[in-house]
Assembly symmetry: C2
Homo-oligomer: 228 residues x 2
């Protein structure tokens, strides 16, 4: 498997490239519009064909590259049925899967940060978007978010995976690249051992976060697959 993790500084977003060494077909998870040239370079470097562009959810902090990539490479855009993004090509639901050569990418519905969040499982890795972050999680106060739902999603769909499963989050603001399910299940400050659902809901309710800076630009753009 060919694997690459990209970092977009402005929104601290991680984007992931996964490709088959057998067929040279590739997918990108959570591509950012401004970074399209670096994706093109990496695809070119490994002689890859981009087949799918996957979003874990409708982002509020950056604009997806979905439409730019579709126009440039003819790939299909993939996201959850509940996203409300009519311009998507393939609308997945829980346990839908997409095959790229020898690689199977499984969708796990993990709502709570938004109503349409999906994590993607590939072998011993899970790409959690803004559901589970390293030592944290996505906020739950916009886009039909719900702390109760997020707690259940993470416990039922992510923490049920093997300890050694690598967690690749949608963001990190402290330069950390990955974690593991076992580590987060024990040590996540909001969701680790000993943190009850009640504790979690109370914590999330009291976060008192500022209004997301780019939400009024990013949401309408992302509902249009990133088109201006």
């Amino acid at each position: 498997m060919i694997f690459h993790q990209f970092f977009e500084k402005e929104s601290s977003t991680y984007t992931y490239l996964i490709a088959s060494e057998q067929t040279h077909e590739a997918v990108l998870i959570d591509p950012v519009a401004s970074e399209i040239e670096s994706y093109a370079e990496k695809l070119n470097e490994h002689n890859l064909t981009l087949v799918y562009s996957l979003d874990t959810h409708v982002h509020a902090d950056h604009v997806t590259a979905a439409n730019l990539l579709r126009e440039k490479f003819g790939c299909k855009t993939v996201l959850h049925r509940h996203s409300g993004v009519a311009c998507g090509d393939i609308f997945i639901t829980d346990r839908s899967a997409i095959r790229v050569g020898e690689i199977l990418i499984e969708a796990r519905y993990t709502p709570g940060h938004t109503n349409a969040c999906t994590s993607y499982v590939v072998d011993d890795m899970i790409f959690t978007g803004d559901a589970l972050l390293i030592d944290g999680c996505g906020r739950t106060d916009f886009q039909e978010g719900s702390a109760e739902t997020l707690y259940d999603s993470i416990h039922q769909q992510i923490f049920t995976l093997a300890d050694e499963t690598i967690v690749y989050p949608g963001h990190d603001y402290k330069g950390r690249l990955s974690s593991t399910v076992g580590h987060e299940r024990l040590h996540n400050a909001r969701l680790g051992q000993g943190k009850s659902k009640q504790d979690f809901v109370q914590f999330m309710t009291n976060l008192d976060l500022p209004y997301p800076k780019k939400i009024d630009i990013a949401l309408p753009a992302n509902k249009a697959c990133g088109q201006a």
Copy 2:
């Protein structure tokens, strides 16, 4: 929308072509390997690009054209996650959907004839495969079939649609092309008004049908997307 219904005589199979008049992208539902030339002609006639080949289930009576179409047109093969067909490209689950131009194709999981049957809803049409047939239904004695499950699938996923929804089945052995949800809900000999789940299960259990003629050839072939 461009629409065409094909008939394959040997197994009395219906195949459906659905295409966007805006983008000229097309899908085929339940294509049969032996009929690939007639699909190619029809695609050519309307200047269409085949984007997806969808199967409602793993057929026991004919060999799917999925792989031939993928090789010839570069389309993606789509079928239910539970099909056990590792060579598929996109593995849908209940309420997954695929967009082709202005057309949305919604998957409804309708197991019972097999454990992986899916019906596809497009506007006011439903393509029911071998779940609901005209005045009948698929047999339930092979491929993890279950009369109880089929009864629930048809009542919950098909009979809940509007009366005027057109039912396009996977087969008809008497030359009938289509029916409607309203007609089948009232008059289907096995599942219509007044037929209880108990009646249905008893009827299906006592059918005493012969061993399917082509199952030993068709199943292994279809598990390989139709490759010999």
